[in-house]
């Protein structure tokens, strides 16, 4: 039997929509789940996905992708890449797997919501494939690290991080719960696929794939490149939805969702990806600074995508452009200083050569973040290790759940953005985080940050031991310097030279 070409039947098949007779439209598509935009079913039939794929095509291509990634893994299983890798690279893997793997299953659930509840037939088709993508990503990113569990306890966090109260995971869950687990189908398409996946996953997966290849970890490089090919397809689910909304006079609602999600994604990446690119990756393997990467992959990408779409740049764009040269330095210093609360071992990345690179990429680094590191380094060289650890909690933002920080040293500029709401004092790390809260206070007001939980007596005993227990960090898992402070030797030698001179 002759088979029609895809484009001869795809559009017709896609738009063959059910007309409900036995139930109302609202029963079939409950507004809370489908999106309360007040648009008729017919408006959503104009949704036109730019990337069209049929189920048989999908299965064929995905099978090939899986075969490629799994065969590279099988071929390299005895290569001892993990055992011989730079400790900084192992930390990259651990941070990535813990923060991402289980979230992929959550993303599958969000895609499934679009698959069932979107009124746009094309979106239902795209997200059927997207849902299967996310299941594949979850499976792969749990299977691939499994071979290392017996070698390193921290790898177990690929499997357990999502179920813990570790602070970075609270931040990740807060963001993903907000943009994909508790939103209607259309909002998920805007906030998860357009705002988060279009730019940010590109950066995490393409950037890390390049770093992995440089580090000689071809298994990981192949794995995440394979994932990224799916992301770049299903990230396109949101664009046509935005188009439908804008064409039907719903620009303001669309813009707000973009603005909220882009900011949350930025904050999460400032702690997850920023330190990896500018501090953990060995100097000789760095291609671009985090800021350069952000400018190329996020700033340029969004400016183009938003303008093409007829949307505006988020109102906070100037704040964002300033932040991409600053925030991640604080996130690195913070996560490193509170390193026992991590499930990976952060690399300090502050040898004189690395500092010269940081100064070149971020003029003024030595007079700001470098000033804090100077004190830290002196303590390490002096063997005064107690002073290199914290004795209290950093105050975290009630929106992004990450430390409230700013520029230290000679350029000291650290601000709190407080807000009193229903008798409770909330703290935010930026004007934008506070603005997000103010858009829908009841949505966020009940959440307790890790500091709120501490103050409420939920963390016992009220010390570092109690906090680590609360976060699920067992002995053998808690983070410490990736290189066991070997990097400080050069400073010790410099001091000896100065003394001798």
């Amino acid at each position: 039997m002759a088979v029609l070409n895809r484009m001869d039947w795809y559009d017709l098949a896609r738009s063959t929509n059910w007309t409900p007779k036995y139930v109302t439209e609202d029963e079939l598509f409950p507004p809370k789940l489908s999106g309360e935009f007040g648009l008729p079913l017919a408006a959503w039939e104009n949704y036109d996905e730019p990337y069209k794929q049929t189920y048989p095509e999908y299965v064929k291509v995905q099978r090939e992708k899986d075969a490629g990634a799994y065969s590279v893994k099988a071929a390299l299983e005895r290569s001892r890449i993990f055992e011989n890798a730079d400790p900084g690279w192992k930390s990259v893997m651990k941070a990535h797997y813990g923060a991402i793997a289980r979230g992929e299953y959550a993303a599958a659930s969000a895609e499934a919501r679009m698959m069932r509840f979107s009124k746009a037939p094309g979106m239902r088709n795209m997200s059927t494939l997207g849902c299967m993508d996310e299941i594949r990503h979850g499976q792969m990113q749990l299977y691939f690290p499994h071979e290392h569990v017996a070698k390193d306890r921290q790898i177990d966090w690929a499997f357990k991080a999502y179920d813990t109260n570790e602070w970075a995971m609270i931040a990740a869950r807060h963001f993903f719960d907000d943009i994909m687990m508790t939103r209607d189908a259309i909002s998920v398409s805007i906030m998860l696929t357009f705002s988060f996946e279009t730019g940010f996953t590109n950066m995490q997966f393409l950037g890390l794939a390049a770093d992995a290849a440089e580090a000689g970890d071809h298994t990981f490089a192949n794995l995440i490149s394979s994932i990224q090919t799916d992301e770049s397809r299903h990230a396109q689910i949101g664009g046509p939805a935005l188009k439908v909304l804008i064409e039907n006079g719903k620009k303001e609602e669309a813009q707000k969702r973009v603005d909220i999600a882009v900011w949350g994604a930025w904050k999460l990446f400032s702690v997850l990806t920023g330190p990896i690119m500018d501090y953990y990756t060995p100097l000789e393997h760095r291609k671009q600074s985090f800021k350069e990467f952000m400018e190329e992959w996020i700033v340029a990408q969004f400016e183009r995508a938003l303008t093409d779409m007829g949307l505006d740049l988020p109102w906070y764009w100037d704040i964002f452009l300033k932040d991409i040269g600053q925030t991640h330095h604080g996130m690195h210093l913070g996560s490193y200083f509170w390193r026992p609360t991590l499930w990976w071992n952060p690399a300090a990345g502050v040898t004189p050569d690395e500092r010269a690179w940081l100064e070149e990429k971020y003029p003024g680094w030595n007079d700001t973040w470098g000033q804090c590191w100077d004190v830290f380094i002196d303590n390490v060289v002096d063997g005064n290790m107690a002073k290199t650890y914290p004795e209290t909690l950093p105050y975290v933002c009630n929106m992004c759940q990450l430390p409230i920080l700013g520029v230290p040293g000679k350029g000291w500029d650290v601000k709190d953005y407080p807000l009193e709401y229903n008798g409770r004092l909330y703290h935010f790390g930026s004007e934008v985080d506070r603005w997000v809260f103010q858009q829908e206070p009841e949505r966020y007001a009940g959440h307790l940050s890790i500091v709120d939980r501490f103050l409420a007596g939920m963390i016992q005993p009220m010390d570092l031991g109690g906090a680590l227990q609360y976060m699920g960090l067992a002995p053998g898992e808690i983070g410490d310097d990736a290189h066991n402070y070997a990097w400080a030797e050069v400073y010790r030698a410099l001091r000896e030279t100065r003394k001798a001179g």
């Binding site: 604080g330 210093l333 913070g334 200083f337 973040w369 000033q371 804090c372 100077d374 004190v375 830290f376 303590n379 002073k387 290199t388 914290p390 004795e391 209290t392 909690l393 950093p394 105050y395 430390p403 409230i404 920080l405 700013g406 520029v407 230290p408 040293g409 000291w412 650290v414 601000k415 709190d416 407080p418 009193e420 004092l425 703290h427 500091v451 501490f454 103050l455």
Partner: protein, 86 residues
């Protein structure tokens, strides 16, 4: 006498930190409690300087012997801890 949480924004440091103080503490004692978590960890000591407390973002320093209970702080309110030449 009661435990009272404040948030410290210490001059020269990069992050806000939770600092438990007592309602009977003076502002000098608040500054000293905050310094424990910044000075010698990420901020160098400044000989010849004392530390003063002000409401976050204010330019007015609070009296050194003012007690926490008298200052009218809200729990977890952020205070700036500022170096002042002695």
């Amino acid at each position: 006498m009661a435990l009272f949480p404040l948030t410290s924004n210490f001059e020269g440091d990069f992050v806000l930190q939770l600092v438990p103080v007592d309602t009977e503490h003076t502002m000098d004692e608040v500054a000293a409690a905050a310094a424990v978590h910044s000075v010698g960890r990420r901020v160098r000591d400044r000989p010849g300087h004392i530390l003063r407390v002000r409401r976050h973002g204010s330019t007015e320093l609070l009296p050194r012997n003012l007690k926490v209970a008298e200052a009218g702080f809200k729990p977890t309110e952020t205070v700036d801890i500022i170096w002042q030449a002695a």
